[in-house]
């Protein structure tokens, strides 16, 4: 697709337009785990409505110049009206000061607890929402929904109703390759795969690896009954029927029906294989 300035949003560069006026920004973190350089997705998304614009997540301070460049391309001269950090963890919120400085009329929106403690300068520029609230951007409408797969308690997911995109923060990290280092608590992919959707990636989902990474990144998944959790996830997905699932730490999922069962398997395995003695398999716990 092209914008009014003649920019082309290509499949192998960020920003990538994943639906009309919805842009995928990325700044993969590159690390050498063994001999191989691995990438960790750190995605942000811009919703460019006819009236208002909204950015989801902030990335790390070290990526500010790159994020600013991607914002400039996608905004095409417009300003940023809202910043929605999905949760107050460094990769999702740490550029709040840079972004609010750059866009003096921008407000934080979401579950905005903690930011007044962490970034006192944001006090007076934050709009708290409740689950079910929506922000109408003009042609695009973002509804705040509960985060099912999350870490911090104030995490929120959001659903864009026009193009049916579910933004899931730490959930659904979609995995293709990776490291076995337990001190790395974020999911990995290979160079060259950064901007691809789930159906454009050549390799399939690595369930073994996914299981391992869920255990590392969402430590509680070793203890939480996956059936209870996945039931909540199914209810949310059934209610909204997203056509795209957009994760902060994975490739964009465009074949939701195909990928969902794999994500379910990963969560079952993360629990069953947690190495906790005497644990009954999740399925028999449910019927007990």
């Amino acid at each position: 697709m092209a914008d009014g300035q003649g920019h082309k949003y290509e499949r192998n560069t960020f920003p990538r337009e994943i639906a009309p006026n919805i842009f995928w920004f990325g700044n993969c973190l590159k690390i050498s785990v063994t001999a191989e350089i691995m990438h960790i997705h750190l995605n942000q998304f811009l919703l460019k409505g006819e009236e208002k614009t909204l950015l989801i997540d902030t990335g790390m301070p070290r990526h500010w110049d790159s994020l600013k460049a991607q914002l400039n391309i996608a905004l095409g001269g417009r300003s940023l009206d809202y910043l929605f950090p999905t949760h107050p963890e460094v990769p999702h919120c740490a550029n709040i000061p840079n972004i609010l400085d750059e866009y003096p009329s921008c407000s934080l929106i979401g579950d905005v607890r903690d930011y007044g403690l962490y970034y006192p300068e944001t006090r007076g520029r934050a709009l708290n929402v409740s689950i079910g609230d929506a922000v109408d951007l003009g042609g695009l409408k973002l509804r705040f929904v509960p985060a099912i797969l999350k870490d911090l308690p104030s995490s929120l997911w959001a659903f864009e109703e026009t193009h049916r995109i579910m933004f899931v923060a730490d959930g659904f990290a979609f995995l293709h390759a990776g490291s076995q280092n337990p001190m790395l608590d974020e999911p990995l992919h290979r160079p060259g795969e950064c901007t691809l959707t789930s159906t454009e990636l050549g390799s399939g989902v690595n369930v073994e690896l996914g299981n391992f990474i869920i255990r590392a990144a969402l430590h509680w998944s070793r203890f939480v009954d996956p059936d209870r959790l996945l039931k909540e996830m199914d209810e949310l997905i059934d209610e909204h029927k997203p056509s795209i699932i957009a994760s902060a730490h994975g490739n964009i999922i465009v074949d939701v029906d195909h990928v969902l069962p794999m994500i379910r398997d990963m969560h079952h395995k993360a629990y069953a294989d947690a190495g906790i003695p005497g644990r009954k398999p999740a399925a028999s716990r449910q019927s007990a």
């Binding site: 007044g116 509680w220 644990r279």
Partner: protein, 267 residues
């Protein structure tokens, strides 16, 4: 203003402030007219000054001048973070601008989401929990603290233990207490009123560890019990909530945490 600076036992100073439990913190329940201390700690060791966490940014004007005042003798400065969250690292760079930090100790910097590149550039020594290491690890040369990975946690968390004073730095666990006013001492001892009940502890713990009602919590209780049976813990110094001082106070709060894990988890 807020409760600021308290000497715990000669070698440990508690620094920080307090926040109203009016819904501004996501880790705590809303409790009208109650407050919660948010803390960092300064340990004065013979060969090093050790900071455990650095406080939240909104308490910067309490913390940075106090740290600067206390560390003026050119001693080696070690900053230990229990978590790489803005709740713990909020004043790290502001402190470093006033009192150069020589060594930063975190669970990991192999996790590239922890952004300390400006410190690295200034040749701060980085110490991380060694990959594949045994259950615990010693910080400092000569050793000043024990560091171990927390199993009862949300994000990657390490707890620190000072064997000399029997003080456990437990980050966001044992953080289930609050106080009646912003000026109230952030310390519970056997001779102060402890208004904590099962119900109040439960509310605090579930506000942060949202998954407990869906979880098999027995392994977490076992882990907490092992932490306490392996060490002579006289004081618990969490990153938010009161400092818990004295064996009887420690035992009471240990039992509260174990009770909440047992009763609120799945059975």
């Amino acid at each position: 203003m807020n409760a600021r600076q308290h000497n715990l036992n000669g070698t440990i100073m508690r620094l920080g402030g307090s926040i109203a439990l009016d819904g501004q913190a996501s880790w705590a329940p809303i409790k009208p007219n109650l407050f919660q201390p948010v803390s960092c700690y300064l340990l004065k060791k013979p060969k090093a000054h050790v900071l455990i966490d650095t406080g939240v940014a909104c308490h910067q004007s309490n913390i940075v001048p106090a740290v600067t005042r206390e560390i003026k003798d050119g001693n080696y400065v070690i900053a230990c973070l229990t978590r790489s969250e803005p709740e713990c690292a909020g004043n790290l760079l502001a402190i470093h601008e006033n009192v150069p930090i020589n060594e930063l100790v975190t669970a990991t910097v192999a996790n590239p989401f922890d952004d300390y590149s400006s410190l690295v550039a200034q040749s701060v020594k980085l110490t991380t929990f060694p990959f594949g290491a045994p259950a615990s690890f010693t910080v400092g040369d000569p050793p000043v603290l024990e560091m171990f990975l927390a199993q009862f946690r949300m994000l990657l968390t390490v707890w620190f233990f000072d064997a000399e004073t029997g003080t456990l730095f437990s980050s966001d666990v044992f953080s289930h207490t609050d106080v009646l006013s912003p000026e109230a001492p952030p310390i519970i001892t056997s001779s102060t009123l402890d208004k904590t009940t099962y119900e109040s502890a439960r509310e605090h713990i579930l506000a942060k560890f949202w998954w407990i009602p869906k979880a098999d919590t027995a392994p977490l209780g076992d882990w907490v019990r092992k932490v306490f049976s392996a060490r002579r813990i006289e004081t618990i110094a969490p990153t938010h909530g009161c400092v818990l001082m004295g064996r009887d106070v420690v035992d009471r709060h240990l039992n509260l945490v174990l009770d909440v894990l047992e009763k609120e988890g799945l059975r």
